[in-house]
Symmetry: C2
Subunit: 315 residues, 2 copies
């Protein structure tokens, strides 16, 4: 019989995580404090799961199989009963997370992992006083995780490293790509990578160096191409005949010069912000915004299909 | 009859650019100051072009067609004769570029564009005193440009905007993705995007937050997925129901906090550098480094094929 994972909250992130776990072979109980939301999640998820099946992104399973392991329940107690992993997907409100974790720590099986999808409040802020604080951590997805497989594991200082390691292995076995943060930092890794790129994009437009369109093109047709399958450190390693050290030594001076020019922040406000926003509405009028989001999601799914194929076929 | 483009220098970049121009329908003359290098470029390019044909990346042309328009020549005068565009691919040495451009300005047709592949020396440093300085600019590729199509056009303050615009249109018609910098800045755009990511990667490892492997995974399985087809500004626009302005206002505070933590630079040296370098050699021993580079190039080509397909089929 399949092991059970409890999904606390059946909104966008809860549903997406439920798909990841069921696709990974787990039974998933769905709980939401708003009456009817967990039940309504079923048809919404079926649509996504069918899409994934059609794209070969269900780890060889069928839609019926994945959906058959989804169980909407009425109470948190039912949800966590017999669960080995509990994933909390509540709004980003500290007091709410603190209460939820206090409850979960009381009602969940003693050896269940208690994970939060928190995107900015770190684990130590809402778990310190819990008896089971050693089994609490953040497992932060990038939306939607059934396509973008990275998961940031952020334990608190008191989280048992074995629990973190076992959770990492469980997620890896599901086809996800967990990384482990050994310290709590502002923004975790995703936002710490995204932030300086956004700062620089604002700066380049503010300086009059390039148009917003060309800033975006520089990324989408240029610098991101290698990053979509190897990270920034390995890009450097492979760009020098003698490896990383040679690369770092050769380019440190230029990078330091650039960094010094990037220290002053450009405010994201006023005429600059109006200008960029207006530019977007000229390119994608508001009544086409949702269609563009859907296009983005289709592109993300197609990219995932490509990467899966490339990982298997290009050695 | 095909218009002619002159390639000055037949090294890695010169050969790659020659492929782009011939694939775009131009006749390409190849000159290199070292005897025999231009001739030897032919079989090297044929191999690459055949690879591109096999992957459907020749704009519908054949290898024979593309190679038939490649003409090695013995002198710079022959190379530029009748050329509409001259692309200089000499080493990154200011005095050398200054001399070359002085010569090219004298011997090339008066209306030919004089472009440099310079990656760090800006146009104004080696063209100010030329009679034809209005037609000089940098056209900087990201290697290899027949796969990564971005080209950074960096005019000097005295470059005729019409020449820049016409060059941009010519490159677009060849299937390239030119962007125009309106001011000369350190590192152009590619390096200004890459640099803060590298700084942050060093910082995260130095702080003991994550391993070098996980830093790379955060990028390659996470934050880069959207960037591989939409830029950082549009990622923000699509992540807010009401568009870019809402996104910027909502997330400015977090991004400012992160930026303040990213101001101090970590030196790329000492035990930290040794540690990262050693980590790479454990993952990819030096005798497999070249094979890994070749794998990277196959992945880049496969990604270009995927993007071409997605651009045509996902609306």
């Amino acid at each position: 019989m399949a092991e059970r994972v409890a999904m606390i909250g059946s909104g966008i992130i809860g549903r997406a995580f439920a798909i990841c776990f069921s696709r990974g072979g787990y039974e998933v109980t769905l709980y939401d404090p708003t009456d009817g939301v967990a039940e309504k999640a079923i048809p919404l998820m079926r649509e996504t799961v069918a899409d994934l099946e059609q794209n070969g992104l269900l780890n060889g399973r069928t839609t019926d199989d994945v959906m058959s392991r989804m169980i909407p329940v009425k109470t948190m107690e039912e949800a966590v009963e017999g669960a080995i992993h509990v994933q909390e997907n509540a709004p980003e409100v500290l007091e709410l997370k603190r209460e939820l974790f206090a409850t979960l720590d009381k009602i969940a099986p003693k050896d269940a992992v208690l994970a939060s999808s928190s995107s900015s409040i770190v684990t130590s802020k809402f778990t310190e006083e819990l008896e089971g604080r050693h089994r609490c951590m953040i497992v932060h997805p990038t939306n939607p995780p059934y396509v973008v497989t990275i998961l940031e594991l952020v334990p608190a200082p008191w989280t048992d490293p074995e629990v973190t390691q076992k959770t990492r292995e469980r997620l890896e076995a599901m086809g996800m790509s967990p990384i482990t943060l050994h310290k709590e930092v502002t923004g975790f890794i995703m936002n710490r990578f995204q932030s300086p790129i956004l700062q620089e994009a604002f700066r380049l437009v503010a300086m009059g160096v390039v148009s917003p369109e060309d800033v975006d093109k520089a990324m989408s047709e240029g610098i991101s191409q290698r990053w979509s399958f190897i990270g920034p450190l390995e890009v450097g390693d492979l760009n020098a005949p003698n490896g990383f050290k040679e690369y770092a030594e050769k380019y440190e001076a230029m990078n330091r010069n650039i960094a010094m020019e990037q220290r002053d922040l450009v405010p994201w406000a006023g005429p600059l912000l109006d200008y960029i926003d207006k530019n977007f509405r000229e390119r994608v009028p508001m009544d086409q915004h949702k269609a563009r989001q859907q296009w983005r999601d289709r592109r993300l799914m197609a990219l995932a299909v490509h990467k899966k194929w490339a990982n298997e076929n290009i050695k």
